[in-house]
Symmetry: C2
Subunit: 441 residues, 2 copies
């Protein structure tokens, strides 16, 4: 077989009139008289190839086999990319078992989510299934590059920890050389410590663990948390403004790079109040008190408790879309009782915190806020949450050495990806989900 350098299928059009080698998976075969039309997929996309008189040369190559072919590139209007490869040589690199658990080359895989997840690698050969992970990689890339452009430093904090960061969430125990340790439910303490350490603006993209036995379409027990924390803020507004600017940058990049993925999944780009492509607009903001008013006045829903139920989040999203043309709405000034002990209290109404959630299309995708920066106040708050401040000395120590006002936020990567693409279950945006019943693959 010719020793030509391999060309990525997305680059085939640049080689019109020349002989190229293409390698990938045999995704479709259509026979038309003495012609075989093939679709070959690789990491960069897919390309049509036409084989004149294959004479049974395809008989040992079931769909999804890994193949290599050599041929000349020609322009062909009817081919999806505008080019096709006229096959001269064809070789099977690794034949696929013809009995696939489901058909891969369909617009939508005709299999339930459990079957898809049981055969996750094969499912990703489907372009629509894989689209979520191409988009997810872009979300991570924009998060990092946006923050780097603002002077943030990427950090890596330990996931094996001695104590949990949040009050409520349950922890997974780890046997650490005979000692009991836990999997970190968030990098909260560490990212605050690193603000105080003088790095001042830090971010982390890493796994977080919640041992809660929930069984919903928007929770898993291991997920990727996009975390940031920054010092010398005037208030939580600085953090919210930063998130608006990140999401505007993300929307622009999704439009630029992933328009085809959004069409494929029949999904819509996020609606920003300023409109796409413009400078970051200001998302609508409601205090919790105002949110409850809106729910009562506009939707006739009275919810006496402090928290918003999933239904409340959906209705407030509906309100924000009508009132401000925004898929996003901030809910601010949460009651201290429903926030962790490090949340900064509103000096004028100490029962409220300077914290926020961001709701996107009816689901909370971010929790953030300003944090307590005075050591004594933090220790008192830990104690009144029933925790022993001595257990948290590793965290509070730096607060005695010049801790500035600071704040930050966390975004669940899979949940954001799912909401961006209109996927009904967070597991569709998780390569290998971990939940109560799923530990394999």
């Amino acid at each position: 077989m010719s020793q030509l350098e391999r060309v990525a299928v997305a680059e085939v059009g640049r080689h019109e009139g020349r002989r190229v080698r293409v390698e990938g998976w045999l995704h479709r075969v259509r026979l038309l008289g003495e012609l075989a039309f093939l679709v070959v997929q690789d990491y960069s996309g897919s390309v049509q190839a036409v084989w004149e008189k294959p004479n049974g040369g395809l008989s040992g190559s079931p769909l999804e086999s890994a193949v290599s072919l050599v041929g000349v590139v020609r322009a062909e209007k009817r081919a999806p990319s505008g080019y096709e490869v006229v096959v001269e040589e064809f070789k099977v690199i690794a034949a696929a078992d013809p009995n696939l658990p489901f058909e891969v080359a369909k617009p939508v895989v005709d299999a339930g989510l459990d079957l898809v997840l049981d055969h996750r690698p094969l499912s990703l050969r489907n372009t629509a299934v894989a689209a979520a992970f191409r988009v997810q990689a872009t979300v991570g890339r924009v998060f990092r590059s946006f923050l780097e452009s603002r002077g943030f430093t990427e950090v890596h904090t330990p996931k094996i920890v001695a104590a949990g960061a949040e009050g409520g969430a349950a922890l997974f125990p780890v046997d650490y050389f005979g000692r009991r340790a836990y999997l970190a439910q968030s990098p909260q303490f560490y990212k605050q410590m690193l603000v105080g350490a003088g790095l001042e603006r830090v971010f982390e993209v890493a796994a977080a663990y919640r041992a809660e036995e929930h069984d919903t379409s928007r929770h898993t027990n291991e997920f990727i948390s996009l975390d940031l924390e920054m010092g010398f803020i005037a208030s939580e507004e600085d953090v919210m403004r930063l998130e608006e600017e990140f999401l505007a940058a993300l929307a622009a990049e999704l439009e630029r790079r992933h328009a085809a993925d959004f069409v494929l999944l029949k999904a819509e780009l996020p609606k920003l109040p300023g409109g796409a492509g413009t400078a970051a607009g200001t998302f609508p903001r409601l205090t919790m008190a105002q949110a409850h008013e809106v729910l009562k006045k506009e939707f006739g829903k009275a919810s006496p408790s402090g928290n918003l139920a999933p239904e409340g989040e959906r209705l407030l999203a509906q309100w924000a879309l009508c009132e401000a043309g925004s898929d996003f709405v901030f809910i601010t000034r949460w009651p201290a009782a429903s926030r962790p002990p490090y949340a900064y209290r509103d000096p004028e109404k100490p029962e409220l915190t300077k914290s926020f959630d961001l709701i996107f299309r009816g689901t909370e995708i971010t929790t953030g806020g300003q944090r307590i920066h005075e050591a004594a106040a933090l220790e008192a708050s830990l104690a009144s949450a029933g925790l022993d401040p001595a257990d948290f000395a590793f965290y509070t120590e730096i607060f005695r050495y010049g801790m500035p006002p600071h704040g930050g936020l966390a975004i669940g990567l899979e949940r954001l990806t799912a909401k961006l693409l209109g996927l009904g279950n967070i597991r569709e945006a998780t390569l290998f989900p971990r939940d109560r019943s799923r530990l394999v693959p």
Copy 2:
């Protein structure tokens, strides 16, 4: 106090003649008659400020307090950045406890590593201590951006797993809803599965766990692994070539962005065979058999066993530097007995594998190679390693659906950072190390 927008200290020079607000940590104070010279540090660097007649205004602001000051920027040749701020207003945002566990504003912190790690956040206020983590963030950024430019997709694979990937390394057990699970010692299985899934070129930057009870300067029990895996390779040479190109890109970026950090740490940029700034040169390569010959012939060291001892790695690095002017040397063709079961056998000498280590300045920083891609051969290899292939069906399944020849590598981020900067202990390049004795902070 003036309501001026804060300016990052690295940007002060752009505001010559204008009034600015600067916020950060009070790093140094020098009194000269009626003048106080201050050094203020923030995330972007440090700046000199001069306060005429402070009149005791500094008495409530110990070193390392968080401060805010307003003043006019003027050119000043004797200031390290060429500019200084003439203080008009000065305010302490958060006073530091004057009893620091060690002095921060020294070229080198005068404290043992354990004390430094016990007070890790404070230690990072020292510019030299923090330099390792600025450089480390760049290593991660270049790894990602280089691979993205080659069509790689970032993935996130689970760290809670049902089975370990490597033969030898011990695993940390996790109590997963009453079932026994483990912390992943590498994303090996998952990244191979994702090659077969059609993503074809994938990378991951994530924690890896080894429960080995070692106590050395080059091991910790939780570390960040830079992993990549790629399909349709001709041999492990494709992977080695990619690593050479990554390291050349990294060296160029370190020279461009971190020259000052290297000076500060008295470290040298890596020596590449092609010379810095040129296209990626080819690193010297020795098969294991050749490596043992060199050790015997050049250094009089006979080592009958298959593996290289740390001393062997050091001597081979010395050889590569003399022979090829290279800080890097590949050792290839490892015996199958010392490699995991997924290592691809040399068809001509099946007792050897198509695998490699990369030695950098005397320490192994990478293990990689081609992997077995035939399902039957992989299952046979697992079985002959004493494992039950049925336990690994989640991994081997995709090998039946068109698995191309593939390979990849893993680089330990902290170890690479430490070797780049000449740090003697990997813990100096780990924000919060986890080892047998250290679980806090």
